[in-house]
């Protein structure tokens, strides 16, 4: 029983990171129809920049804030320089562009920072907490709380603010949105900035647990992509469900079945789910326009 709880707590921590990654994918996809394979690099940059800020003597909150702002600026720049100019390109071109951006950012991070593995202490100490015979690190609570808070803030943003509603309108129908006076270019820039910021938050929260290095982005992007697709591309709730589900599933597989094939289970699940629900668990039905 305490084992199951232990696996669940592990899975929720990892799942919360996947959910934040998937959320980043979702926001950009909704605004631009692009799946951004550089999303994992934002997570890496958030962690690396915070690590270097702390190493340079900045207080943790300031280092974190700078990391978020810097990564968000990079997200806006990525959109302006690489995504916006390729508007309307076929899916395969967009995949190559964003993977190209990921490779570029990884190379740049390796030069700008270094090629070592980095970590900084957890925000609320390192002593594990005990719950009903299971243990959890305080930093895991930070990660889970961070994911929950991000999700709640986004929900408020999309449902209560005019800008948020404009983003949703653009996602639903860009042409109609621009006809009613929404600046869809600004919305795209905003979405990339927001998405990069969420990635950076995930990165800076999780680095005390998982550590980070310049080349960790691609693996993160693949997990996030898988989570987003499982939940249903374009649905923020789907991103949350997909991320948590993948994290918990991996932990349970590692615990009860085989630690060797725990990643296999997620991909088998994805292929099965997509076979029966081609739009993912919570994705919107779309019809071919002729």
């Amino acid at each position: 029983m305490s084992d199951l709880l232990q696996f669940l707590l592990s899975g929720l921590t990892v799942g919360a990171v996947y959910a934040l990654l998937a959320l980043g994918f979702t926001i950009i996809f909704n605004a631009s129809g692009v799946v951004n394979f550089a999303q994992g690099e934002f997570v890496m940059l958030g962690g690396m920049a915070t690590a270097f800020g702390i190493a340079a003597g900045l207080p943790v909150p300031l280092a974190a804030l700078l990391a978020i702002l810097g990564t968000a600026a990079l997200g806006v720049a990525l959109n302006a320089l690489a995504i916006a100019p390729a508007r309307g390109a076929p899916v395969v071109s967009l995949i190559i562009i964003t993977i190209g951006a990921a490779i570029f950012l990884q190379g740049a991070a390796g030069l700008l920072f270094d090629k070592q593995i980095h970590r900084y202490p957890g925000f609320s100490g390192e002593a594990a907490l005990r719950i009903l015979g299971a243990t959890i690190l305080p930093q895991s609570l930070w990660v889970i709380a961070g994911a929950t808070l991000t999700f709640a803030l986004l929900w408020l943003f999309f449902s209560r603010t005019l800008t948020g509603k404009a983003v949703l309108a653009t996602a639903n129908n860009p042409l109609a949105a621009s006809l009613v006076g929404i600046n869809t270019r600004a919305i795209m820039a905003l979405s990339f900035g927001l998405s990069a910021a969420i990635g950076a938050v995930a990165g800076l929260l999780v680095t005390p647990i998982t550590m980070t290095a310049y080349n960790t982005g691609v693996a993160l992007a693949l997990s996030g992509f898988a989570a987003a697709m499982l939940g249903g591309l374009g649905s923020p709730l789907g991103a949350l469900v997909g991320g948590l589900l993948l994290g918990v599933l991996e932990a349970l597989t590692a615990g009860y079945v085989s630690s060797q094939y725990k990643d296999a289970v997620s991909f088998i699940l994805i292929i099965l789910v997509l076979t029966f629900l081609p739009q993912g668990l919570l994705g919107r039905k779309s019809t071919d326009r002729v």
Binding site: D3, K115, T135
Partner: protein, 382 residues
């Protein structure tokens, strides 16, 4: 219409340049400076660059400067094979150092053996030099020796049942196999055998299973990079009190820093003299070599030395020694190979090398030192 293509081809040929005249002694290297094994290959490359500079500043070898031609194969054996071919056929090097991983070393070996060029590998896999291939040597201990060293200690402690958690990367998988192979000789049973992938964020489920396995007396974690540090943290998080053994894959200060000194306290692993340079006694044969290398490396790069850089140091030392003994600035590859095989009593950072026709590793178990982490630093166990 073929103009653009032939133009591109011409540009490619131009940019690659043509083999330069032989004015110096050219040494080739192909290492995994980047990629999954980058944590190993990066210090190796830095070490080679630093030492070649030092040697040239001191007048070179046989009065000729060394030239290092170094490629980054990213740990991919296909790339390693391409670069090895390039080193032999295009750059016309006298010998090749490299192969950060066992996979890349095997790829380079087949080129080196085909073209009869001496090759010194920096990887741990025993299959690189067993059976012996005429032109292939290596500097690190084998994975099998690491297992033996650890099992020796476990045997001394009366440990007979252990749990193992290994990475699925080349290093972890290879050492896992070797350890499974030699358990019988030490009366050790591996009662739990768990795995993790290199990028994994959390190994709590695997460790929980090991903890729940009946009668486990110690835990062994073969791996390198971030994985073992996460395993160490999870180990303490779960409050497991059993003796904890790591591999030589994490023999560097980075492991202690990433795990946290309090979490790594008491961890044992097979290491080399390099990590305990300051604790070596005055009469220790390795003291001078180890201290000189460490001071030069730390002075230049401002980061701690690791065992892996030490492997590269030793490979270059063996090569320079052999070239000097052979006495020709443009050595015949077969003569150079013979000179390497005749290496005797060469003191390196890893141990003291003496090759023989049937031994292209040249080290024994005594070169390994069983280290323990105490108060955030390494110390030799008595």
């Amino acid at each position: 219409m073929s103009t653009p293509k032939s133009l591109a081809l011409a540009a490619i040929l131009l940019a690659m340049g043509s083999p330069a005249a032989l004015a110096q002694i050219r040494i080739g290297a192909t290492l995994a400076e980047t990629g999954p094994a980058g944590a190993l290959g990066d210090p190796e490359a830095k070490t080679l660059r630093l030492l070649v500079e030092q040697i040239n500043a001191a007048g070179g070898v046989l009065g000729e400067p060394l030239e290092l031609v170094l490629y980054d194969d990213g740990g991919d054996p296909n790339n390693a094979r391409t670069y090895a071919t390039r080193l032999v056929e295009h750059d016309e090097v006298v010998a090749i150092i490299g192969g950060t991983t066992t996979g890349t070393s095997l790829a380079i070996r087949s080129v080196a053996e085909d073209e009869e060029i001496p090759f010194i590998s920096l990887a741990g896999g025993i299959e690189i030099i067993d059976p012996v291939h005429p032109f292939t040597f290596k500097t690190p201990h084998t994975d099998r020796m690491a297992c033996e060293k650890l099992f020796e200690d476990m045997q001394a402690q009366g440990i007979t049942r252990i749990g193992m958690i290994s990475g699925t990367d080349g290093f972890g998988a290879s050492m896992r196999n070797q350890c499974l192979d030699v358990t019988a000789g030490y009366g050790i049973e591996i009662a739990a055998d768990e795995r993790y992938a290199p990028g994994d964020a959390d190994m709590v489920p695997q460790l929980t299973n090991i903890r729940n396995t009946e009668g486990v007396q110690a835990v062994l974690n073969p791996g390198f990079g971030a994985g073992p540090a996460i395993v160490t943290r999870n180990y303490r998080q779960l409050g497991i009190e059993l003796p904890f053994y790591q591999s030589h894959g994490v023999a560097g200060q980075a492991y202690i820093d990433l795990s946290g000194a309090e979490n790594a306290e008491g961890v044992r692993l097979p290491g080399t003299a390099l990590l305990i340079a300051d604790q070596l006694t005055e009469d220790d044969a390795q003291r001078a070599v180890v201290t000189a290398y460490r001071d030069a490396y730390v002075g230049r790069y401002n980061e701690p030395v690791s065992t892996f850089g030490g492997y590269a140091h030793d490979a270059l030392a063996i090569l320079v020694d052999a070239i000097t003994r052979n006495g020709e600035a443009d050595p015949d590859p077969v003569d150079l190979r013979d000179a390497i095989e005749a290496t005797a009593g060469l003191v390196g950072t890893t141990g003291t090398y003496s090759f023989a026709a049937d031994d292209h590793l040249g080290l024994d178990l005594t070169a390994f030192r069983l280290l323990q982490i105490q108060g955030g630093t390494w110390s030799e166990t008595p």
